[in-house]
């Protein structure tokens, strides 16, 4: 089975057959396929800094911002 595209909650095969994406990829495609704001976020980041290794105490703004957001949302208490 070869999937050539995704539209909303559906996947589209090479020959145009549509299948419901029953597991959201692997629980990853929360918003469905083809969300323009995600495409734009990816393009913007690709333009400013497409890749960085975090080895050796190096980081980038989106990594720091995401870590802070996850800590804010996670149900555990912040480690003191």
């Amino acid at each position: 089975l070869v999937i050539a595209g995704g539209e909303g909650c559906e996947l589209v095969t090479e020959d145009g057959r549509r299948l419901i994406d029953g597991m959201s990829g692997l629980w990853t495609v929360n918003l469905g396929h083809g969300r323009q704001e995600l495409v734009e976020a990816a393009v913007k980041q690709l333009r400013s800094l497409p890749y960085l290794t975090t080895f050796g105490g190096v980081s980038s703004p989106p990594a720091i911002e995401l870590a802070e957001k996850i800590v804010e949302l996670a149900p555990a208490l912040r480690a003191s």
Binding site: L1, C9, D21, M23, G32, L38, Y51, T53, S60, L66
Partner: protein
Amino acid sequence: MHGFTHSAHPVACAVALANIATIEREDLLTRVREMSETMRRLVAPLRDDPEVGEVRQAGLMVGVELVADKATRERWPAQATRGRLVSAEARERGLLTRSLLDDILCLAPPFTVSEEMLGRAVEALDQSIEATRGLHR
């Protein structure tokens, strides 16, 4: 501490932030809670299937467990590939899913799924269980 080549990949992090922002802006968790009740209603009849041992649900995530014996909930032997028969049939009926731990069919649609599409997904799963009954090794 273990590091990976793509740990904290800036593009992945930027997309994740935009993803969370949309979930918050569109209040999708409220929508998921509401849609979960629709899902609960839709999957309830599966419990009456002679091969369904249990239907488990957390939010929009559902696991439909197929068993060899409904009374004792004895599992199919792995070589029966009961679950894989169902997921293969489901593909033909317009639903892509997998069976986990051999025979637990999984449904976990995107947060934006419509009631109509949920209905079609559950129907495809139900019909796939029925269509493959007795075909296991």
